[in-house]
């Protein structure tokens, strides 16, 4: 069964073709086309955020890469939430038009659920991996999400915890800026942390009692204070009197740091303070709910410290019986292969949506005992 997937919930315009929930035939993301100029500038860099301009060329590219014609598609899948209403609508309307024109079923997919199902997808040019066993615990960590989810079967979820303020990926990005490192922040902090001493700066972890929730906002402020002694004074006027080209606002420029700033030690301490609560709570949840597998999902899954620490701690505390999985990087960040993949399992349960279907900007993973 060939499913065309479409994803426009946030920044990325993406389309993909996936066979039977696992084998990825194509996986196209607009911002990457723009970056690689692979399509002769069909999608200009400026429009990377403009789903309307990108959606049709991206769908066509996904079909071309898969080497199939429109009529060979068996179903169309689209993210209907959570996300930005205006962005979601572009994808949903395109998907409706394509499915209606082809007289094929239309499947609405939850973006969070799809991140989990990225773990079912095959690596490019490799056979599909064995499906993860249930029950499983998934740590979904990205720029916009930090969620701990229990999955007891296809379509059966329990949301165990979430961030109360900043997401883990957001913490990496903002920490990178405070340390004068580049963007995206995750890889920049990880590179700077290599060889650094994580114990030199004591940065706080928010344990939040026995809950499975996370909090990274206090850590950001703690890093700000740890960096303060190394900050060179900037020449900006007092915020209370500024009135420049930005209206009544003062421009915040990235901090300038003294040459002797221990960026490596600060980055290592900061990264450890993000990773540790994620790992400890995931392992605790896996033990408490008898998980047979632990999955990572989302862009932060690419962080090596997180992968390695989680894998090691799982084995130490729960032994060999718990499988540990992390999706290929291309399916960690927002993509449409995971949307098309998820739709296959939904269709097997008979889940599809009608032409009147709407978007759900705040759609939580439904709590279904299973």
């Amino acid at each position: 069964m060939l499913i065309l997937g479409i994803e426009t919930s946030c920044d990325e315009t993406a389309a993909a073709v996936v066979v039977a929930g696992q084998r990825v035939r194509s996986n196209v993301v607009a911002s990457q086309i723009a970056r690689h100029q692979a399509y002769g500038g069909v999608v200009p860099e400026l429009a990377a955020r403009s789903h309307i301009t990108a959606i049709l060329p991206v769908v066509q590219a996904a079909l071309d890469e898969a080497g199939i014609g429109r009529r060979e598609i068996d179903a169309v899948a689209v993210t209907t939430g959570p996300g930005l209403a205006g962005s979601l609508l572009v994808g949903v309307n395109a998907a409706k038009a394509i499915a209606y024109g082809l007289d094929k079923p239309l499947v609405g997919v939850n973006h969070l659920e799809a991140h989990i199902y990225a773990n079912w997808l095959s690596q490019p040019n490799e056979p599909p991996p064995p499906p993860p066993p249930f029950p499983l615990v998934c740590l979904l960590v990205s720029g916009g999400h930090s969620e701990l989810i229990l999955m007891t079967g296809h379509g059966h979820y329990r949301h165990l915890g979430r961030t109360l303020d900043d997401a883990a990926g957001e913490a990496f990005d903002k920490g990178a800026r405070l340390l004068g490192l580049g963007y995206p922040g995750g890889p920049a902090v990880e590179a700077a942390a290599a060889g650094g001493d994580p114990g030199r700066f004591e940065l706080p972890r928010a344990w939040l009692g026995d809950t499975y929730d996370f909090s990274f906002s206090g850590l950001k402020t703690a890093l700000l204070r740890a960096v303060a002694p190394y900050r060179l004074s900037d020449a900006s006027p007092d915020p209370a009197t500024a009135n420049g080209p930005a209206g009544p606002f003062r421009e915040h420029t990235p901090p300038r740091l003294a040459a002797e700033t221990p960026v490596g030690d600060l980055a290592a301490g900061f990264q450890t303070a993000i990773v540790e609560p994620l790992v400890v709570k995931t392992v605790r949840a896996a033990g408490a709910f008898g998980a047979r597998a632990v999955l990572l999902a989302g862009g932060v899954a690419a962080n090596r410290a997180l992968r390695d620490t989680l894998a090691a701690r799982l084995q130490e505390e729960l032994g060999e019986g718990v499988a540990f999985r992390s999706p290929p990087f291309a399916y960690c960040t927002d993509n449409a292969a995971m949307i098309a993949g998820t739709a296959y399992w939904a269709l097997r349960r008979g889940t599809q949506i009608g032409w009147e279907a709407d978007v759900h900007p705040r759609w939580p993973l439904v709590v279904t005992p299973g």
């Binding site: 946030c10 400026l46 955020r49 403009s50 996300g83 930005l84 205006g86 990205s142 720029g143 916009g144 979430r162 961030t163 109360l164 303020d165 900043d166 997401a167 990926g169 957001e170 990005d173 903002k174 800026r177 405070l178 929730d213 906002s217 206090g218 950001k220 402020t221 890093l223 700000l224 204070r225 303060a228 915020p239 209370a240 080209p245 930005a246 209206g247 009544p248 606002f249 003062r250 421009e251 915040h252 900007p361 705040r362």
Partner: protein, 159 residues
């Protein structure tokens, strides 16, 4: 009239937000202006709690807009990741500056340059040396709104 607070903790910053919340009305717009770690989202959490909104108020940095339904609807925006007029227009920012059915709170409003409504409350947050943060409130525009906000901020009953 300018009102200024010193906060020594995230809880104190939230308490100032809770104190202001009852004075907010449908149509009000607040700009939270300050660098990373200054306490913008923490202050917004206080506003949400004061408005009777239940559940976590997460940073909208990546989602751009978070909407909360409570006794009053809250639009929580963050323009941090945006740059340029196309991004701002793509978000439909103008409509959030005249909310017809709720209250709008914007972090990183400077990304939209001088796009401003006539009346708004500018909250400047500054992470000071040591553990103190400054919160500076500057009402702009309509006198009725300004005195409504100021009364709440200068009243003695905290929390």
């Amino acid at each position: 009239m300018r009102v200024e607070f010193l906060s020594r903790s995230a809880d104190e910053t939230r308490a100032i937000g809770r104190q202001l919340a009852p004075a907010l009305r449908v149509g009000d717009v607040l700009f939270l202006h300050g660098d990373l770690g200054a306490g913008k989202t923490t202050f917004a959490q206080g506003i949400a709690a004061g408005l009777g909104i239940v559940g976590p108020v997460q940073s909208p940095t990546f989602t751009l807009v978070n909407e909360y339904d409570g006794p009053v609807r809250l639009y929580h925006l963050d323009l941090y990741r945006l740059s340029g007029a196309d991004d701002i227009a793509g978000l439909g920012y103008e409509e959030y500056l005249e909310p017809s059915d709720g209250i709008t709170v914007v972090e990183w409003p400077e990304r939209a340059g001088s796009m401003l409504p006539e009346t708004y409350l500018l909250v400047t947050l500054v992470a000071g040396a040591g553990i103190r943060h400054r919160l500076i409130f500057d009402p702009v525009g309509d006198d009725e709104a300004a005195s409504r906000w100021n009364r709440a901020l200068t009243s003695d009953c905290k929390g």
